[in-house]
Structure formats: C-alpha cells, structure tokens
Symmetry: C2
Subunit: 597 residues, 2 copies
C-alpha cells in the first residue's frame, strides 16, 4: 500500500461529543487529548469523561463481586489481582514516594469489583478456540465494576483497567470515569517462537508470555523442535533430546519446564499449542531415533545423509503413535500443530526402497502422493488421541484429506488472497501469518516505497520529523539525488518503521463471501529463530507484534496509522515499565527508560 492511501485513512476518524459530558469515541482520537492514557489494543467500544478519580495504594482494592461465581479460592484471579495491583502501584513506589490520596476534594476509587457471570467461572480450566473473552468495564465512583462470563474475559478487562490508570501531574494515581464494552475481533491471536534454531531460556519465554498478555494475545505457538535441535525432553523417547538437543542438560526443556510454561500461560489466558513438524524439518529427530529418517542414496549406495521421516516403514507409525500419545498428554490444548511444510523430495527419490514402494502404491513419480500418504496416516494417529490439528498450508495445497475442524495456516507471502479464498471455499478454518513474519527486518531501504508522498504532508514533516534533514542526507548519500528536491517526501511515520506494514495487513481483505470470511479465525506473528536468541528476541518482537495484536483484537475500522503511532509510543513505554525491553519506534524517550542492557 502506498503512503497516500495510508495518510488518507486519517479521515476515517470520528469523534462525537454528547451534551451530558460523555465523550464517545469509537477509536483513537480521544487519546491525543488525555495525554497519559493509551489503550492498546483499542477496545471495541469505549466512552470516557473528564471526571477523574484517585486510587490510593493503601485504600484501593481489587475484589470479587458478591454475586460472582468466582471467589478467593480462584487462584488464577487472585494471581491476576496481584499482578495488576503491582502494575498500577509498584511503578509509582519504585520511582517516587507514593503520594496517597489525601486531599478531601479528590474523588476516590476504592474498589474494582470483578464479577464472573457464568455459573462456571472456568477458573481451573484452559482457554480454547471457543473461549468467550468479552468483558464490560464501568469505572465510576466509588466502585468500578468488571463483568465477564468467565475468568478469561476478566483477565482481558483487568489489563484494560490497568491501562486506563495514569499518574496526574502531581504523581497521583488517577483514572477517568469510563465505560468499556469489549471483545476480540478474532478468536485466535498468536505468537510463534522458535526454540530449535536457537534455544530460548525459560526466562525469555515467560517474559514474552507476559508481553503477550499485555497485548491480549491468546495463543503461544511453540515451534519447539526442528532440523537444528530437539530441546523437548520426551519421557517416552529421552534420546531425542539427549542426542538431538544442542546440549542434553543446558539446552533442554524438561517436563517441569514445559508445565511451568503451560501454567504461566494459562494464568494469562494464553493457550500453548506445540508444533511437532513432520515429515520434513526433522534432522534433529534422527540423532536420537534410529531408522526414523529416510537414508539418502548416492547412486546405489547410502550417502550417509538422511532426508525426511521414512514413510514406508511400519516402525515409523509405531513411533509416531507413542510419541503423539505423550504429546497429547503433556499439552492440554485441544490442538496440536503438525507442521507439514517444506518437504524436500530429493532424498526420497534417491532411495531404492522408496522407489519400490512408489511403484507398489501406484504413485508413479508423484512424490506429493507419498507425502500425502504419510500425512494421512499421521492425522489418523493424532485423531485417535482426540486432538484437533493445525497444519501449514502445503498440507491443504497437496490435497490431503483433513478433518473438518482442521485449521490451515497460510504463511506463504505470495498469492495470499487466492490461498485464503481456496482454503475457506473448501470450508476450512484458517489463520494468517504471511504478512507477519517478524524475523524479516529492515531499516534504510523501505523508504523507496514511499517516495511519492502527497504534498499535503509538508507541514507535518517539517514540524514533527526533527530528523528529516539527517534522513534526507543519508538518502542523498546513497546516491538518490533526484528525490531530494522535495523536502516533504519523508515523514515521521513513513520511513524505517516496518511496524506499519504489519499493522495495515488485514486477514479478511481477500475476495470472499461473508461465510468464507468467518472461517478466518485469526492470525499470528512468527519470529523464526535464525537470527534471534536471548540477546535480542524480546526487543525485536515488541512492539512490532503489538501492531498484530491490535489488528487481531480491535474493530476492522481501527486502522489509522498516525493515531496508532501516538498510542503505540505510549504502550511501548508502558511495556518498559513492566520490565519488557520493547524497542523504540522512532526518536523520543520514555519517562522511565529500560534498566537493562
């Protein structure tokens, strides 16, 4: 999309002032007036006023409403109350003497009552694809009320409540009289992390789950093993990590580690979907499991290298049956991601036993039939564990017969619209990740896309991009003299900030019927691990993933990049205060900078 389109989106903003003092704002605009508040992702419906209440650390409480189906025995909520209480007050205490509410003239907010309205609060359960995450939040004196049908909606509402709180000019903890009615646009809002290309210490995974909760993500797609290493400790096949991990002790996720990740995620309303990708991407599996991979041949002799999983041996399916039985027990989510992408046929083609099998099965030279044969048998195995599955798009493209509840993940950034049309036309649910491969980064090149900006932006650039001269000179220095005559062509938000492309992508923008579009159940940001590990993963993911978060949660109409920029800058500062090293979007500062390296 060109920047002209981008900038015209600003016109879509609307703001209506009603006589009773409420400011109705469908999105965004209000935040530029209340400097200290920024909601991210933006709620579906939001009404605020200029009436303010103060919150005192010694007087304010988060409590269970009397008629709530959850009570103090619900440790998930107790845990969340503590977390959000700390977010609201700890930052204040850390940096200055806590100024409690003391002026009689201050209106006080003394309580946030949390009411779970369904008979089953789901306190001890797990979130699922069908989870209702909606909530209603009313902030009024002396009590704010948060209503949700279950704990999952309550978690989302608590996050919003904490985002409404700010410090006034005197440092007093403050909130405005506000009503929120909110629900997610999409049910599946995921982040993929890859722990095979680089091992990620537990601390990094947990910090990113925390950041996900702050951004209302609800799926951690754990791409846990791949060609490069097998850090998952299997009780049934311990040799897989013993021999396939980068190191058998220091670079392994033990059963206790995995449980901790799952529980940490559950407490934040996040599903953990593990991916065990076969038949390709399995080099590391072969180290700890003899005869699992296909021996490649060089002419008539084995070359000593191995290809994808060997699909012609019964032992393969025996292994998969035992292995996926364990996986289905270790991971409570109703879905497993089975991969199925990027199968290379050259090794299969070289192997005489496979060639023979192809003839027997009547597959001719069509090795995608062999792939389908394998996947089909694997799906039957997994189906027997009562789990649903997600697969990468190739499995669908190759015509494998899929269960009706299969979710197809569209990741290829080529003919995305056509693929979404095909998958949904066939009646399958789908999630989109193609525009959100956040391992791709760039700065210093994408300006070329924007060089034909609208001349209207002249004033904006001059005043708000203090760097325009520096940026222009860098481009001149790169040899692009002709573009330099127009000082307005670079603006603050159009250069080097790849979060914007991420933000503008929409999973439902393809041509299709309303029914087809309903089958798009969400999407996910993927951070493949080639170039990231504990040193740089978190700042590279955030706040770019926040752009995906808003796309997947907020209303389709929330797409103005400039309004988003203003809020996202503040949201990123909030993440810093909560200990997440989210990187800057552009020149500027946060009141409290990150305290690490």
């Amino acid at each position: 999309m060109h920047a002209q389109t981008l900038l015209s989106c600003g016109l879509l903003l609307f703001l209506v002032t009603v006589s009773n003092g409420w400011l109705f704002s469908h999105f965004g605009k209000k935040y530029q007036e209340t400097d200290d508040v920024s909601l991210w992702p933006l709620p579906q419906k939001y009404q605020t006023t200029t009436t303010t209440f103060k919150l005192g650390a010694s007087s304010f409480q988060i409590v269970h409403a009397k008629d709530s189906s959850a009570g103090p025995s619900c440790s998930l909520l107790q845990n969340a109350f503590r977390r959000y209480f700390n977010y609201i007050f700890d930052n204040v205490k850390k940096h200055r003497a806590n100024r409690d509410v003391d002026q009689e003239s201050d209106l006080q907010l003394t309580e946030l009552q949390v009411q779970i309205t369904s008979p089953d609060s789901e306190c001890d359960g797990y979130p699922s694809l069908k989870t209702d995450e909606s909530y209603r939040l009313s902030v009024d004196q002396p009590t704010a009320v948060l209503k949700a049908s279950n704990v999952w909606g309550a978690l989302r509402g608590l996050e919003t409540f904490s985002q409404l709180v700010y410090e006034d000019n005197n440092g007093a903890v403050t909130i405005n009289k506000t009503d929120v009615s909110d629900f997610p646009r999409f049910a599946y809002r995921g982040i993929l992390l890859d722990t095979s290309r680089h091992f990620l210490p537990l601390k990094v995974i947990l910090a990113n789950l925390e950041a996900m909760a702050i951004n209302k993500f609800n799926v951690f797609h754990w791409h846990i093993v791949d060609d490069h290493s097998f850090p998952f400790f299997s009780r049934t096949f311990p040799d897989l990590s013993q021999r396939g991990a980068y190191h058998p002790y220091t670079h392994v996720y033990t059963p206790a580690d995995v449980k901790m990740v799952i529980e940490f995620a559950r407490l934040r309303g996040i599903r953990v979907i593990a991916e065990f990708d076969t038949p390709g991407h399995t080099q590391s599996w072969g180290k700890g499991q003899a005869n699992l991979l296909t021996p490649c041949y060089s002419g008539s002799t084995p070359s000593g290298t191995f290809g994808p999983v060997n699909p012609i041996l019964n032992s393969t399916y025996d292994f998969m049956t035992s292995f996926f039985k364990e996986i289905s027990e270790v991971f409570p989510d109703a879905y497993i991601h089975l991969g199925g992408d990027e199968v290379d046929f050259s090794c299969w083609k070289s192997n005489p036993d496979i060639q023979k099998f192809m003839v027997e099965q009547g597959f001719g030279q069509d090795y995608s039939k062999l792939e389908s044969y394998y996947i089909q048998r694997l799906l039957d195995i997994v189906k027997a564990t009562n789990k649903g599955y997600l697969v990468w798009q190739e499995v669908f493209d190759n015509g494998v017969k899929l269960k009706a509840d299969t979710v197809v993940e569209v990741w290829m950034n080529n003919k995305v619209d056509q693929e979404l049309q095909n998958v949904t036309k066939a009646g399958f649910s789908t999630i989109l990740s193609a525009p959100w491969y956040l391992d791709y980064i760039s700065y210093g090149q994408d300006w070329q896309k924007y060089y034909k900006l609208n001349a209207d932006t002249q004033v904006h650039v001059w005043k708000e991009n203090p760097d325009y001269k520096h940026e222009m000179a860098k481009i001149t220095a790169a040899g692009f003299h002709t573009l330099l005559s127009t000082p307005w062509y670079l603006n603050r938000i159009s250069y080097g900030q790849d979060w914007q492309g991420v933000y503008k992508a929409d999973p439902q923008s393809f041509n299709g019927t309303a029914e087809q579009k309903k089958l798009v159940i969400g999407g996910e940001a993927c951070l493949w691990g080639e170039y990231v590990d504990a040193t740089n993963l978190t700042p590279r993911l955030w706040p770019r993933a926040s752009a995906v978060a808003e796309r997947l949660w907020s209303d389709e109409s929330v797409k103005d990049v400039e309004s988003a920029y203003t809020r996202l800058v503040k949201h990123r500062c909030r993440m810093l205060r909560r200990g997440i090293p989210a990187e800057p979007l552009f020149v500027g500062f946060c009141p409290y900078e990150y305290d690490g390296l």
Copy 2:
C-alpha cells in the same frame, strides 16, 4: 561485491607447518583446529603449538615484570589485571566447581609478567592518535611475558592473552605455547553512539565501552547532542540541558557522569571524542540559549520556527567561545568533533537580516559561503583552546580553510572512493564511516545480491546450512520461483548476515598513492539513534561492530569471510560470557547463553 568473489577469497589462506613443531599461521586457519581458541581481531603475527599449559586460579598471577617501568602503583594496570583475571577464572567458577591444576603431569603456567619498556609508562595519561599500541606476547612455561612500550599496548596484549585461554575437555583452564607480535593497522578505530535521538543510560554506555575494549576499539565518538535533545550538562550554560534535554534530571549527563565515562574509557585505552555539531543539528540548543538560532521567516514576519545557528551575530561567537572553552576542559582528548554536516539553507534564505548580511559580505546567493564564514570563525575559536578537530566531509567539500591536522570524516555512501582521493590529495587525514552505518539493518532482502553463487558450493550448503529448505521456501513464498531450481545457491554465510558487507569494506581500497593511503588513519562504526535505545542498542551493535574492529586492527590480507565467521561465532559467545548481549550471527548456540532478556 558478488559472492563469487567472496568465496574465492578462501583460496588466499595459507598455513605452513615447520619441522620444529611450531605452526606458523598468518591468519585464521589454525583456529579451526584448536576448537576452543578464537582470536578477534586477528593479531598481525601469531605462532602457536600443540603444547598446552594449565592455569590454576589459586596459583596463576598477573604481575609486573621486574624491569617494567610500571609497578603496583599503576592503578590502570592493576585494574586491568583484575579485569582479565576475572574473565579468565570467574566464568569457570560461576558455572562449575573450579578444577584447579592438580595433575603432576600438567605443565603449569604460573605467571604472566607484564613489562612496560618505555621510561614513561603513560599510566596516568590518556591515549591519543599517536599512541603506540603494539605489544609482544610470549606464552611459555613457567612464565608468559607481555612486553609493550606503554600501558596502552599492554591493555591490548592482556585482551589477546585472555582470548588465548580456553577450557579443555575436563574444564581445566588451558593455554597453548604461543608467540604473538601485534600492532594495529590503523590508529583510529572508533564507535559512534548517539545520545540525542534517544538518551542512553550510563550503564549502556559503559557496557559498550567494555565491548569496545574486547574488540580493541580505541575511540568512543560521543555524538552527545543534536536537534532532538541536549543531554550534556554544561556548567557555563546549565539551561541548555535544563530546557533542551528530554528531562532535566533523568535524561542528562552530569559532569560526574561524563568524568566516569572518560575514566572508564581511559582504563581501557579508549579516547572519548565528544561531538558538538553546529551550525545545523542544533534545534535543542535553541531551547536553552536565546538568540542562538536563526529565526525563520514566513514572508516578512518571523514564522516562530528556527533554523541553524545564527552566523551573523557577535553574540553567537561569544557563546561559542565560552562554550568550547568549557568543552575543551571537560574532555581531555586533543580532538573535538565539530560536526558541520547537513546544513539546511532554507531558513537562512528566509531571514531578511541574513539576506542583508549576504549582500554586505558579497556572498551573492551562495549560502555555502555563509556556512564557511561561520565554520571558519568557529575553527578559530576552537584552535585558540589548543584542540585539534574532526569534521564531517561537507566542511571539506565546501572549501573551508582547515588546520593541517584536521581529520575529515567521510560518511556519504556515494562516490566514497572519489571523496577519499580528494581529501587525501589535499593532504588531510581522514577516517571512513560510510560503509559502517550500523543503524541500517536488513534481513530477508539482501539474498538477491547473492543469487548467482558458484556451483562449487553445493556440498557446503547441503551439509552446513540446515536451513536451506526453509530459507528457499521463504523466497519461493515471496514469489521468486525461478531461482528455486538450484538448491546450492543459498549458503550459510551469504544470506541475511549483513556483517559480511561490513567486513569486506576496506578504507584503503580507493585509487591513490601510497602517501595518500597513509592519510587514511582509520574508521568508525556509527550507530545513529533513531531506532535504538537501552532496549536494543547493544545486540544491534555487536557483533556487527566486531567486523569493523577486525578490518581496522588486523592485516589487510585478513579478509576471508568463512574463516572470519568461524572465529566470530566463538568471539560472540565470549562476549556473552563477559555479559555483553551480542546477537547471534546465525543458527546455533553458545555453551553459556545470555542470562538476560
């Protein structure tokens, strides 16, 4: 440069085995055999053997040689002894019970004697452009000897000594019998950090000075103020930071902070060259100093905005005289960087007083004459403080009369060779930063440069790039079908690793006489601050800046990318163990991963 050229560099490697057991290696090759050692940057001359000695934490000492001109009263060296002792032994203790030397069969190294050979050790001085950083290191039983004419060479030798130490298979601290004779190729090896676009907490600056010492950098170019903020606290003009910083207390470098940076750097042989860039890049100066900047006009009335420093007022030069007097006292280095880049003339042109001045001076419409007029007067002011200066290339390009010892910094990545020719032909010293703007990053696009790889690399790719399928599929997904038929065109080191372009640039590759090339005194890596702050600066800079470090220290012939990759991977793991979150070059792991976020 195309990858074909790149790969053929490998042929330049040479390795001669001599009958007495010494392995002579001019560079690189040896490290692939001694798995645990990697020297970075590679020393000029290096001879090692397979004879090993053990170092015990309770028996090994770093001491002053008897005939050294420095002794225990030299706190710089004492501080360095402690630092390197900790690097050698603390890591071991941290992670496992220290296995001291206990086998009688082990040959022990009990001492490293440090001998300063000049009468003046320079222990309490500062490094300079003329500093001799050469050293000789001989590791033999029972004593290793490090000789240098002054403390600066000793610091470089201590770093090399610490890099020679490794843990053997049993975890014993080990070093091989080795001789090193080393000196830098270039005298100026810098890193630019920008503390104006984002404020960098002291902790971040100090950590990067530590990383610089590990990489034998010797100049911290502190781009301390700019348009965006003025964090330098001036005793003479305190309003500059009071009003020009992002925050007057939390986002300011106090005199004590600046002293700490300078001393921390000195202890590591690093010069601190502050840049106070004028007459452009000064928006933040205007907030705390009335009448310093030029009022811009809209027609016949002031527009309320301001342009570059006002060059026509005497008060401007009075201010600069007082200001640079303070700067020349605060920063002990013999050089100040005066900037002078990217002056925008539009505001000057709009101002009727300036127009009048132009007529009076007979400058016509040539505002570069006005710029030169300003710079000339500024240079005279700075000259009176007895400081030398560096300037960005525009100052030279515009024909300003420069002192003979001026250093011109070539940063524009367009016609670099021509610029280097011009500057050196005019007899000026120069440093190069054009190829080393490390704020530019990319991943996922630069593969296009490499798509014509040599077919010889087929085996290499297959075996050593476990990711080739994934990478290829990503590219197919981006719509580049035609390239996919050749599975060998992607290799481990040619895709997404922008450190290689950084590594291959050479400051002396332009056409010029030997005399001209001598005037190239070095270069620097610049990390401009648009997109970096405490959250992401350090991993974005390292280990990419390490590539610059080797280019500027090691012999010109050290340029094989594959050999460099092998060493750099280990060097990056070493930085992790020393607490520097240097990001990964590619898929893989370190024995001890970074312990932060």
